[in-house]
């Protein structure tokens, strides 16, 4: 066994052992432990747990790679996935915590005095969460197969086992404390290589400052200026101004991600775990601090990875790398098929450019940038091993949070709330664990046989949350008179128009050939891409709900009193169930 593999085994299995130990120490005894960790998590702990819950394989592995190739256009992810927390902290979290229930559909059902509303919310939640989990499971499989060189299916199986043990045993309590550990692992694994690379390139160890510094090669040129000139020389658009489909599209995209973030149930339900309304407000702040630690480093990682990649292939303008002298990481990633070279002009050298006719780097998968980054920069093997453990921590922590959101909405909202209301607490706890086990099996199956539409569904998950759940919650808090009928009409039309827009451009259920307008820029409504349409869906939701409410009458007096009640913190108890 070589050194890298040994280090990787130590990092990965060492971190797994830590998660198991924590899960055993924090196992759940009651439904309150299982759903909301007994309501006793401090704001800083909760902030870290939300950070790990929120930052998935997509944040850890994919985002910096996307930024590396999109440049300024990648800002939509940075602003979109952080700005949502301002909305959460000011518009939703404190009031939902005051109301003090276990799940998001339960809040909707109380506020809108309607079982239909609860069921609609459960459906949105399950679709959004399951599509997310598929991505996490794929991430686990890929990380195992690349770093430990085990079979993809076996890697997936090991990942499923690990999540099963601590999620089913510990419920929200076990998951919360494990996520705190996972946050530490993932942030350490993300920043260490970034610090090394920033130091190498600019002499500044802080990546956020390094990105704005001059290169350490003595030229006195700023890194970003150099990157701009290097990419434009190859025929790409300028790094710092390349925008993603125009200003309006970037605007709608950012807005969709922000309100989608604030409407994702697995994030909102974390605010039920803190002891008070005051703590709900500050945990949103701590969560954002812990998320910002990664999100402000990511643009530096992206820009530096792009620079290092180009610099390896073409060290000085016009002087290209010999294919026979390519470095080890190049060979490793070629084996996975995610990096492909084709010697079009048969000169034995590697030419990389924006022109598809002369470009010989025929495939550079964006997802490999973070994982390959330490190797491209010649960092020591233990750093590479750490990145493997960090990627797994990110994927596992998010999968666990999503599984909890699904199992609680099925066992608590569907079974206890609608189908069998007289179920005892002990049976509900058992049902929660069984549903979670089934969800892990479904997620594992889908991870092993990813449906063709897996990639497209992430857009749908955000679109759903943005166009259905967020407006319903916000109106429920800020408009006392908003009625149940109006909310259901709003949710259905918001989701409806978003799905219609995504399907008409991407195909019904993402089946190619069934798209009736074609995925062409000129058919986009004002140039808004399907991924960015959730913001429009949310507007439709608000408008429809207000019109229906005007036509069919206001919510009853006792509901208006309920809203009055959760607007003030006074009298908040532990998250309870009655």
């Amino acid at each position: 066994m070589d050194e890298l593999k040994l280090y990787t085994y130590i990092a990965v299995f060492g971190s797994f052992a830590l998660y198991f130990a924590i899960a055993w120490w924090a196992r759940a005894g009651s439904t309150s432990d299982f759903y909301v960790a007994g309501g006793g998590v401090t704001p800083i702990q909760n902030g870290m747990a939300i950070g790990a819950d929120w930052m998935s394989a997509a944040s850890f592995i994919s985002m910096a790679g996307l930024i590396a190739f999109l440049g300024y256009g990648g800002s939509v992810f940075l602003m979109g996935w952080t700005g949502g927390y301002v909305l959460l902290a000011t518009l939703l979290a404190p009031y939902m915590r005051k109301h003090g229930k276990f799940t998001v559909p339960e809040f909707i059902s109380d506020r809108y005095y309607s079982k239909t509303a609860r069921i609609v919310a459960v459906i949105c939640l399950i679709i959004a969460s399951l599509t997310y989990i598929i991505g996490q499971m794929k991430g686990v499989g890929v990380a195992f197969s690349r770093f430990l060189e085990v079979d993809y299916g076996l890697g997936l199986g090991i990942g499923m086992m690990v999540v099963w043990v601590y999620a089913v045993l510990g419920g929200m309590k076990g998951i919360t404390y494990t996520q705190i550990a996972q946050y530490c692992v993932l942030i350490f694994a993300y920043t260490i290589p970034a610090v090394f690379i920033s130091l190498q390139l600019t002499g500044n160890p802080i990546p956020q400052l390094g990105l704005g510094s001059t290169l350490a090669d003595g030229s006195g040129v700023y890194l970003l200026d150099k990157l701009d000139s290097v990419v434009t020389d190859l025929g790409f658009k300028e790094y710092t101004t390349d925008n993603l489909g125009g200003t309006l599209n970037m605007f709608a995209y950012t807005m969709s991600l922000m309100i989608g973030t604030a409407g994702l149930p697995h994030v909102i339900m974390r605010f039920f775990t803190v002891p008070s309304v005051k703590a709900a407000r500050s945990s949103a702040g701590y969560a954002l601090v812990f998320i910002a630690l990664l999100y402000t480093v990511a643009p530096a990682v992206g820009a530096m990875a792009r620079y290092n990649l180009i610099n390896t292939i073409e060290p000085t303008a016009g002087q290209h790398m010999d294919y026979s002298e390519r470095p080890q990481w190049f060979k490793d990633w070629e084996k996975t098929g995610l990096l492909q070279f084709e010697d079009k002009n048969n000169d034995g050298k590697v030419q990389y450019s924006a022109d598809p006719k002369t470009n010989e780097m025929v495939k550079v998968d964006r997802d490999i940038m973070v994982l390959a980054n330490p190797a491209i920069a010649n960092l020591p093997n233990w750093v590479i091993a750490l990145v493997a453990a960090g990627g797994l921590a990110a994927a596992l922590s998010t999968a666990a949070g999503l599984l909890l959101a699904i199992s609680s909405s099925v066992s608590h909202d569907l079974m206890k709330g609608v189908l069998t209301p007289d179920m005892s607490e002990k049976n509900e706890l058992l049902a929660g664990r069984i549903v979670m086990t089934l969800s892990i099996l479904v997620a594992g199956y889908l991870g092993l046989h990813p449906p063709g539409f897996a990639a497209g569904t992430v857009a749908l998950a955000f679109g759903l949350a943005a166009s259905s759940i967020f407006p319903a919650l916000m109106m429920g808090i800020f408009s006392k008179k908003m009625s149940g009928k109006a909310a259901v009409a709003g949710m259905c039309s918001g989701i409806g128009i978003t799905m219609l827009y995504v399907f008409q451009h991407k195909g019904i259920m993402f089946i190619p050939g069934t798209s009736f307008l074609g995925d062409m820029g000129e058919n986009w409504f004002f140039g808004i891409s399907p991924n960015a349409f959730g913001a429009v869906g949310a507007l439709v939701n608000f408008a429809v709900a207000f019109i229906v409410c005007k036509l069919t009458g206001d919510a009853p007096k006792e509901i208006q009193q309920l809203v009055e009640n959760f607007r003030i913190p006074k009298g908040a108890g532990a998250a309870h169930n009655h």
Binding site: S75, L78, M79, T82, G212, L224, D225, P299
Partner: protein
């Protein structure tokens, strides 16, 4: 009831201030005004680019803590804190 209404009105005013700053720092400086701001430099960063990839995130963090502390004061003022 009277005090509760003015508590809510003050809360709404705070929320509006927060959302205005939230909007200006991200959608304003990072997107709509990015080109004129890019004429100004912050070290190696163009200022508009900096707001889009760094500055807006720092503003968000500060905003959430500021709102939280202002609301704690408001809770005390109107005596609606949790016991």
């Amino acid at each position: 009831m009277e005090t509760q209404n003015s508590y809510w009105a003050e809360n709404l005013r705070l929320i509006l201030i927060c959302l205005a700053i939230w909007f200006v720092s991200s959608f304003g400086f990072g997107l709509l005004l990015v080109e004129p701001l890019n004429e100004i430099r912050l070290g190696g960063y163009k200022l508009g680019f900096w707001f889009a990839q760094q500055g807006s995130i720092y503003v968000f963090v500060a905003l959430v803590f500021w709102y939280s502390s202002q609301m704690n004061k408001l809770d005390k003022k109107y005596n609606v804190e949790e016991s």
